[in-house]
Symmetry: C2
Subunit: 345 residues, 2 copies
């Protein structure tokens, strides 16, 4: 009796068998109805549906998984050694996209986070062991073999961002970093700026490379415009500040800066203020990521916004297609960015 209380849970969940009994059909038929098979008469379907409704039947996930050998869930893997993962709205937004797209198809979203090397190995174990049908990988490092290991294993995987060592046909979704950077730089040019500097990200990451390429592309062919006025940062504020100081030293006359991340732009703002430059009067500046911070700087930062939620949705769609098709390779999807205009230009 104590046990009965213990298990609590009000009414025990009805099983297929009970629904079948109530509807006056067999288990098989109920299963067919529940799974939307066309092979069932209207009469049977109706009475099953009624019984389902009445008993409040919900399929038991575990039993289904066991029988189908599918997990009916996908992993969202964050393999970030740094701790600041979620301070960036990027992840949250991506997650939201994934969540929305996934809930439509009834799959579970299992969140897996790994910081230490040991956890990293566990993640691989976990995914390889078929606990999930596929995985969305975010913030994977360049030399991380995880995606390929999983692909070899036959597990569908989709990454966010183009991997550096582009393995042929490794499925990924990315925003058009080249075009975003190009548009930002072009915007500065169109506003009449002529000495446009760049603070770029690390060149061992595709975002870093692409955003620099976009900057160069925008300035290519323009006469009398320096286009190698760039300093390198690591996306952090400090590095942006340092880079800005270097740039001011190299060219005190510069009148605009394209920063490959908002954080670096914030650092640049500080350096500019310290150097007595007014923004945007003396120097215009554009960042990248459209982070929360961009809205609160002084002046507010014009920035390139990535369609993060959409990226999440696309990744999920791609993953579901892979899972369904039993494949592990796919053409990448590149989504357009958007320039958000604020006071810094």
């Amino acid at each position: 009796m104590v046990e009965a209380t213990r298990s609590g849970n009000g009414s025990a969940r009805p099983t297929l068998e009970q629904v079948a009994a109530a509807a006056g059909v067999s288990r098989g038929t109920v299963s067919r109805v529940v799974n939307g098979s066309p092979q069932v008469s209207e009469a049977a379907r109706a009475s099953v549906l009624e019984a389902v409704q009445q008993l409040g039947y919900v399929p038991n996930r575990a039993a289904r998984s066991l029988a189908t050998r599918r997990a009916d869930s996908v992993a969202f893997v964050v393999s970030e050694p740094e701790s600041r993962v979620f301070t960036e709205p990027f992840f949250g937004s991506l997650l939201r996209g994934v969540s929305k797209e996934l809930s439509a198809s009834g799959l579970q979203l299992v969140l897996v986070m790994a910081w230490t090397a040991r956890e990293h190995a566990q993640v691989e174990q976990y995914v390889r062991n078929g606990h999930v049908d596929g995985a969305v990988l975010v913030s994977v490092h360049g030399d991380d073999p995880l995606p390929w290991r999983l692909m070899e294993n036959g597990t569908p995987v989709v990454m966010s961002g183009r991997p550096q060592l582009s393995h042929p046909s490794l499925p990924y979704v990315d925003s058009d970093n080249v075009e975003g950077a190009r548009a930002a730089t072009a915007h500065l040019y169109e506003r009449g700026r002529r000495r446009i500097a760049a603070i770029t990200g690390p060149q061992d990451m595709s975002v870093g490379v692409d955003r620099l390429a976009g900057y160069r592309k925008a300035l290519r062919g323009r006469r009398g415009v320096p286009r190698d006025l760039c300093a390198f940062g690591d996306f952090s504020q400090e590095s942006g500040e340092r880079a800005m100081r270097q740039l001011l030293e190299r060219d005190p006359e510069l009148d605009a800066v394209f920063a490959a991340s908002d954080m670096m732009a914030v650092g640049a703002l500080r350096a500019l203020r310290a150097a007595g430059r007014r923004v945007p009067d003396d120097v215009a500046i554009i960042g990248f990521d459209d982070s929360e911070t961009a809205r609160h700087t002084d002046p507010p930062l014009t920035s390139v916004r990535q369609p993060t939620e959409l990226m999440g949705r696309e990744m999920t769609r791609m993953l579901l297609t892979l899972i369904e098709g039993g494949s592990t390779t796919s053409e990448p999807v590149i989504l357009p960015n958007e320039l958000v205009l604020r006071g810094s230009v």
Copy 2:
């Protein structure tokens, strides 16, 4: 043959049965070893362990769940109608704490997000249907019946933050908002400030109420100090700016502000600058949350930091205890905050 290729997946995962065969024992014994039962001889244990190692055996989650009638997973439910959920580091940090604590006990973390009312209902369905053993609820609104509905259903639930309509024994973890606000205000006083204003949060949320209470508590009994110099905001930057303007109007002589959120503090900074006040020379200011933004304002913002990751861990620990004990009620846990000193004081 095509099928064989399709299913891919390299080597099929070994089952208990196969491990048993390899180890020369029965299924039961392998199960006992895997689950750490003491009722097994050293010899048997050793040979099972060896077989497990060799075959790379990992228990099938679905089968286990089916047999034990447990889900071996908990849900992290974000029921936030707003879209800015993850722009605040709070959630990410909480999530990390939950993830860390959970991975130690081998449970899955299922992320469930709900924005629309319909999704809200689905979440309830989902959790009630026993897909998870328990749930961590964050950012629940005051009038949201979700936690109680789940509790009635017998599902263990832990909330973040003290609920307003404090249902007796609804389990929650919170930081000590009263004490955090008190310490911040007291700090301002100790630094010699005497006209300390407050920008408080909405009074229909416990955080809003508590932080105001802390402010009042710090000033109680101090002679010649105004302690009702407060304006209300809604935690947003705009509301902070507005509140600050009101306060300056009411008392142009004020020399310090305690803001109940960093965002409001940022707004206040703007208003102060617009009014020609220097921070911290003329007016000192302290925020709350120690957000990413606090680090990037000018000057950097002194703020109260909540032990968010720890809160996540505590919530998880509490939840696991509830699950294990088959209970749904528990004493709340209140964790201390910390004042992070930066340039704004």
